[in-house]
Symmetry: C2
């Protein structure tokens, strides 16, 4: 039996997407990250990092949403799984790449477009982060001009992991018109029926009050 911990307005939506693609039944424990539930002694025994999501599959307990998805694909994945070592290497590469290049600058862009309260948004910060994202977006767009999905002709865990980090693009109203292949691919991925849990994500984060606090929150 598989158990997924984490409210679906958190990064847990990434894992719920994978489980739904695989049509795997799972128990859902909607531990929330804003009300202290991730810091209880009980939860810390499941994930000592005090974060969601976490996944239990028999006696294996995993944290890190995108690592969980790679595991689920490898173990149960059918067409979403890497078919050989080469595909596994590329799926792992793109998964690490989206964390390194996109996740945090995109979060700070989104913060300044809609996660911070209206009076707390800083247009210069949003612009600087969008400029930073231009580099990986261009890489992804060029790659997707050559082939419809990250590993070739079919949707795999690589597409799921990379696009699931990018839900903040449509949520924040950013446009990707400059990168048409990326834009079409992202829409296609995020419109898959199994993906829909990201759509109602709504939360606010308070703007950290000082430059030092900004670094503490976003680095």
């Amino acid at each position: 039996m598989i158990t997924l911990y984490g409210d679906l307005r958190s990064r847990a939506h990434r894992v719920a997407w994978m489980l739904k693609e695989l049509e795997m039944p799972f128990e859902h424990v909607p531990t929330h990250f804003l009300d202290g539930s991730t810091r209880t002694p009980e939860y810390l025994r499941i994930n000592p990092n005090g974060r969601v999501p976490a996944l239990k599959d028999g006696d294996l307990v995993l944290f890190e949403s995108l690592a969980i998805n790679l595991y689920l694909a490898r173990k149960y994945g059918g067409p979403l799984a890497p078919s050989d070592l080469r595909e596994d290497a590329l799926a792992t590469q793109w998964t690490l790449w989206v964390l390194t290049e996109i996740e945090k600058p995109l979060l700070l862009t989104a913060a300044n477009l809609f996660l911070f309260a209206e009076g707390e948004r800083n247009a210069q910060e949003a612009e600087a982060m969008k400029r930073k994202l231009g580099r990986p977006f261009k890489v992804l767009d060029a790659h997707l001009r050559e082939q419809p999905f990250l590993l070739g002709d079919r949707f795999t865990v690589a597409d799921l992991n990379v696009s699931s980090v990018m839900t903040l693009v449509p949520l924040s109203g950013m446009t990707l018109d400059e990168w048409p292949a990326l834009n079409a691919w992202l829409t296609q991925c995020l419109e898959r029926p199994a993906a829909a849990d990201w759509k109602p994500i709504r939360f606010r984060i308070p703007r950290p009050p000082t430059p030092l606090a900004m670094l503490e929150s976003f680095v």
Copy 2:
């Protein structure tokens, strides 16, 4: 034939370490990241991100240092490789975890301890980042009190990946006395003969002049 691109004072040292553990011969192209060599049209055909390292193994080209190491372990790994799906899941988990929790706060700590010029260091920033690192360091220490290595009784790619991101701890003179199991494990990993390329790493980065530029550099 395997080719590794990247000066060993960059993240390429992580991959060189893996190749040396595996006793794999490789061609080394010491593309440097500070002199423009990673942005030439020739290099961008190898890694469109304009970063080092990159690895060529036959006709497979990979970027992202820690993904390259997981690939090398899976393909050529012997005792460093995950032995089954469970170990592979955990090696992937710890690899993503060190990127999410440790890499950037540690870089900003190190910047304020030795990578920025002396007059540009900010003790408050270093303290804030060390405070942030306290959380993942505690998780790692608790885990390593239970078992000598991340996956159990032997040194694997999980240990190599996590500890190779943490070379900035000894390089910047941080002490880990609060976390004795982590401290002993890190010393043991980084003292392996194959790891030695990190030791002569010396470079300076200029302090970005404004809070916005700090976010642009470190987020």
